[in-house]
């Protein structure tokens, strides 16, 4: 953490930082998002996830909690979308990066609406087929990745390595 914090401060003085909204739901999605952090060094990163306890893992970075929801829970989805829209208005990210699932879906759609560049990294757990949310939201992304070469397609998603 120290290395990242120091690098962040140094980069401050030289270039304008990219404002990144890093979004993941719980468990494996969150662990995979954390493994991407070296790519965010020197930028302004805001985290969005579903569990308040995860704050302990990201130090002093700005942090928002949203509710998780499935496609069978319409009210949960509406609440999640509204909360994500509020976060977008407040944080105004240049880029949205997500490992899924439902919070990432809304972060991509709303991020696009607010003019951010968007990246969806499909979870490594999806070996045989892409996540449903990834399939739906893929065409709204600027960077659409799968972590398994066998799931890559010419018109997306691409394979560019994995979190492992």
């Amino acid at each position: 953490m120290l290395m990242i914090a120091e690098a962040t401060e140094r980069a401050d003085t030289t270039t304008r930082k990219t404002r990144i909204l890093a979004v993941a739901s719980g468990g494996g999605h969150w662990v995979q998002l954390l493994r991407l952090r070296p790519a965010f060094v020197g930028e302004h990163v805001v985290y969005v996830t579903v569990n308040r306890a995860y704050r302990a893992e990201i130090g002093a970075a700005p942090f928002h909690v949203v509710n998780d929801a499935t496609r069978w829970n319409k009210w949960g989805l509406i609440k999640l979308a509204a909360r994500m829209a509020w976060i977008m208005l407040r944080e105004r990210p240049d880029a949205v990066v997500t490992t899924g699932a439902a919070p990432g879906y809304f972060a991509i759609l709303l991020g696009k609406l607010f003019g951010a560049r968007t990246a969806w990294i499909d979870s490594m757990a999806n070996v045989d087929c892409l996540s449903l949310s990834g399939q739906k939201v893929g065409r709204w992304t600027d960077l659409w990745l799968t972590q398994w070469p066998s799931l890559a397609r010419k018109d997306g998603p691409r394979f560019e390595g994995s979190v492992l």
Partner: protein, 193 residues
Amino acid sequence: MIFVTVGAQMPFDRLVRNVDTWAGRCGRNDLFAQIGNTAWRPGNMAWTAFLDPPDYRQRLFAADLIITHAGMGTILTALEFGRPILVVPRRGDLNETRNDHQFGTARALSEAGRVTVAWNERELFESLRRLDSLPAPQRVASHASCRLLNALRQFVRREATAPAFQPVTGESDPASPIGFLGPEPRQSRRRAA
């Protein structure tokens, strides 16, 4: 210490019950289970419903062996510490999860030599019988592959920079959950120049 875990999302009675039964039969007292909303209350192992992320990480680090559902978060963290991992995939037809995607995850990771999989109860008891000979996987870094980091770095910086990340080997430090061991981008660029 053997750490048994089912994650936080859904109960997994089949795993907890079978391992608990085995522990009782063998008289083992070195198991600890994180059982979430599982209905079966273990009688032969210490247990808790949920653990905070830092405690969870510490449990994985302290364990000699991990018995788990095919949850990506647990497996990735256990690999960071190089602990042997015995995976029991959740079955969709038993409502242990919504579909059989854990079988795909388990198959791919077992083919890559990262985990041992018990595909059914018979295999679970067989693996439990020879726990001491389960292979420890190679430790992995605490961050994604350099290829993925470079792709994301380009996306984030919006420029086609030279690859900033090069492979390094390193071990993970449980005291620092953020333990970032890879080269820091600006330094590598200077070295390359």
